[in-house]
Amino acid sequence: MSSVAPVDLPTGEGKDDSSFAEAARDTKSGRIKRRLTSPWATIAAIAIAIVWTIPTFGLLISSFRPAELIQTTGWWTIFQNPGFTLDNYRDVLFSPSQSAPQLGAYFVNSLAIAIPATIFPLVFACMAAYAFAWIKFRGANVLFILVFALQIVPLQMALVPLLQFFSSWLRPLQAGLHNLIPIIPEQNYLPVWIAHTIFALPLAIFLLHNFIHEIPGDVIEAARVDGASHSQIFFRIVLPLAIPAIASFAIFQFLWVWNDLLVALIFSGGTQDVAPLTQRLAELVGSRGQDWQRLTAGAFVSLVVPLIVFFSLQRFFVRGLLAGSTKG
C-alpha cells in the first residue's frame, strides 16, 4: 500500500517498528547513536507524553469518585480524599429516572448506527473500486479524479439539501411503507446510515482502488481466460486479496462514525430511539455542564469502544491512517 496516498508517502511497512529499532541497536553504529541521543530529548519526550495523557487520566479517575468529592476536591488529591464508587456509571447507564442520561439506549444506538454505516460504504466502494481498476471504459480517469476531488467537499455543503431531500422523499416513502407493512418502522436509522455512506464513499473508493489496482494483472487475466465473469472475479479473487485494505478502512470508518456528532445532530432527530452517544453527551454538556460525576462517567462510556478498538487493532488503524492521511 505504499503508493496509496497521492503524495508519495513512505508508510514504513515491512519494517516493523520494534524490529527496526532492535536492528539498529545491535549494530555498532546503532550503539553509538544511542549513546549520543541527548538526555534532553528523552526528558522532552516524557514530558510531552505525560501532558498528553494527564487530561484523560484525570477524567478516568474522576468518573469513579463519588459526586461530592468530584465537586469539592481535585482528582489529584485522590490519596488525601479517597473514595471509589461505581454509582456514576450505574446512574448514567441504567437509571430509569427521566432526568438521568440513560446512556444505555444511546450506546445501543451508536452501535446500531456504526455497524451498518461501516458495511454499506465498504461494499459499494469495493464494487466501484473494482470497476475503476479492472473494467476498461472511456472517461475512467476523469471520473476517478472527480470522485477523489469530492472527498474534500466539506460536509457542510451537503447538509441542507440532503435534509430537505430526506424530509420530502425518504420520510414520506417510509411512512407509506409503514402503513402498508407495519413491521417497517416509521422513525429509524436510515437517514443517518445513508448520510454516512455517502460521505464515506469518495475516500473509500480512492483507497480501495489503489489497493485493488495493485493486484497482479496476470491473476485477473488467467481467471478471465478460464471464463470467469466479473462478479466471480470480484468475489473469488479481488475481495479476498483486498482484505487487509478493507479491514483497515473498516476500522477507520467505524471510529469515524462512532465519534461523529455533526451528521447525527442533523439527520437523527435527537430522540432516544435513534440518536447516538455523542449527541446525548453534547446535550448533557449544554444542559448539565456542572454535573461532573455524570459527564466524566458518560464521556468514558463513549470512549470505551474507540479505546478498545484503538488498543487492540492499533496496527490496522495506523495503517489505515497512513493510507488515508488525505482524508478531509
Binding site: 503524495v7 508517502l9 514504513g12 519494517k15 520494534s18 527496526f20 541497536r25 544511542r34 519526550a45 510531552i48 507524553a49 498528553w52 487530561p55 484525570g58 476536591t73 481535585g74 454499506f120 459499494f124 466502494a125 464494487m127 466501484a128 473494467i135 480517469n141 479524479i145 477523489f148 476531488a149 474534500i152 466539506p154 460536509l155 455543503m157 447538509l159 441542507v160 439539501p161 431531500f165 429509524n188 436509522y189 445513508i194 455517502i198 460521505f199 464513499l201 469518495p202 466479473h230 468475489f235 465519534n259 456528532l261 445532530l265 455523542t278 453527551l281 453534547a282 454538556v285 461532573w292 464521556a299 484503538f310 488498543f311 492499533q314 488503524f317 495506523v318 491512517l321 492521511s325 478531509g328
Partner: protein, 322 residues
C-alpha cells in the same frame, strides 16, 4: 430502555442489513445475467451505479444547491445579502477571524510538536508505548475530548478548592483563578489547544513512518561529514520527509477548517469563540437562516478549494506516470 426497545433496535439493524444484502444480491444477479448485447457496458453500470448515484444525490447535487441557496434572500430572490452580512456584522467577522487563527495555528503547531516528538522517541526503548500515549486522543471523539478539556479548564469562584487542573496550577503558583472559557480572546486559544492535542498524534505517526523511510546511509554520511544533530535534522531529515510533511499539513488544515464538535461541546460558540463550521450549523439549523448557513458553507468550500486543487494536481501527475 426496555428489552422490547433493544429487540426493536436489533431488528431494525438486521432488517437494514438484509435489505442491503438483497440490493447487492440483485445487482450481482443483474451483472451476471446482463443482456449479451453491450454486456461489458451493463456490467460496468452494475458495479459503478450505486456509488455514483449516491454521490450524485448526496454530494454533487447538494453542493450545487447550497451554492444557489447562498445567493437567495428569505423571500427567494437573488441577493448578495448573505455574503454582505458575513463581511459586515461584527459577530460574523469574528467567526471568520477565529477560523483564520485556527487554521494558522493548529496545523503548524500540531505538525511541529508531532515531528519533534517523533524524533525524540525515534529508536528509543519503548517507542511503541510512547507512540500509543500521544496517538490515543486520535481515537477519542471530539465530544469526549471536549468534556476532558472542559474538566481541565473548570473554574471555581472565590476561595473554594479548584477542581480544574489548570486553575489548580494557577492558584498553587499564587495566582487568581481564571474563567478560562469565558475570557475572550484567550478562550479561542484554549479551544485550539484541544485540537492540537488531538492532531499531534496523527502528525507524529505519519512523520515517524516517514523518518524511518530515510535511508540510514544518508544519516551516516552526514555524520561522517561532522555535522551536528541540528544540521542533520535540517539538511537530511526534513528534505527526506517533505512530501509527508505536506500531507500532514494539508490534512490537518482541512480537518481544522471543518472543526465543529469541539466548539459546539466546549462553548457552543459563545464568548466570541465561534468558527465558520459551527456558525454554519447555528445559522442553518438553529436560527433557520438557511441562506446565511449556505453562504458560510460556500466560504468553507472556497477555503478548502486550493487544497483540493493541489491534491488533484498531484494525483493527476501520478496517474500520468503510471
Amino acid at each position: 430502555m426496555t428489552t422490547a426497545d433493544l429487540l426493536g433496535k436489533i431488528l431494525q439493524v438486521v432488517m437494514g442489513l438484509a435489505v442491503f444484502a438483497a440490493i447487492v444480491g440483485l445487482l450481482v444477479f443483474f451483472i451476471d445475467r446482463a443482456p449479451k448485447k453491450g454486456r461489458d457496458y451493463w456490467q460496468l453500470v452494475g458495479f459503478l451505479a450505486p456509488a455514483i448515484i449516491l454521490l450524485a444525490i448526496g454530494l454533487i447535487w447538494p453542493a450545487i444547491r447550497t451554492t444557489g441557496l447562498a445567493f437567495l434572500d428569505n423571500s427567494g430572490n437573488f441577493s448578495w445579502d448573505n455574503f454582505i452580512w458575513m463581511f459586515t456584522q461584527p459577530a460574523a467577522i469574528r467567526t471568520l477571524i477565529n477560523t483564520v487563527v485556527w487554521v494558522l495555528l493548529v496545523p503548524t503547531l500540531a505538525t511541529a510538536l508531532g515531528l519533534a516528538y517523533a524524533i525524540f522517541i525515534d529508536k528509543s526503548r519503548g517507542e511503541r508505548y510512547y507512540k500509543a500515549l500521544v496517538f490515543m486522543p486520535m481515537a477519542i471523539s471530539f465530544v469526549g475530548a471536549g468534556i476532558i478539556w472542559r474538566f481541565v479548564y473548570e473554574y471555581r469562584a472565590g476561595e473554594r478548592e479548584q477542581i480544574g487542573l489548570l486553575n489548580a496550577i494557577v492558584t498553587a503558583l499564587g495566582g487568581e483563578p481564571v474563567q478560562w472559557l469565558q475570557t475572550d480572546p484567550l478562550n479561542t486559544f484554549l479551544l485550539i489547544v484541544v485540537m492540537i492535542w488531538i492532531q499531534t498524534g496523527f502528525a507524529m505517526v505519519v512523520l515517524s513512518a516517514a523518518i524511518k523511510g530515510i535511508p540510514a546511509e544518508q544519516i551516516e554520511a552526514a555524520q561522517l561529514d561532522g555535522t551536528n544533530s541540528w544540521q542533520r535534522f535540517t539538511n537530511v531529515t526534513v528534505p527526506g520527509i517533505r512530501s509527508s510533511l505536506v500531507v500532514v499539513l494539508t490534512t490537518i488544515s482541512i480537518a481544522t477548517l471543518k472543526v465543529f464538535d469541539i466548539v459546539r461541546t466546549m462553548t457552543a460558540g459563545n464568548f466570541n469563540t465561534s468558527v465558520v463550521a459551527n456558525e454554519m450549523y447555528t445559522q442553518a439549523f438553529r436560527a433557520s437562516e438557511v441562506g446565511r448557513g449556505s453562504a458560510l458553507a460556500v466560504i468553507l468550500f472556497l477555503l478548502v478549494l486550493p487544497i483540493v486543487i493541489y491534491n488533484v494536481n498531484v494525483l493527476r501527475k501520478q496517474r500520468e506516470i503510471r
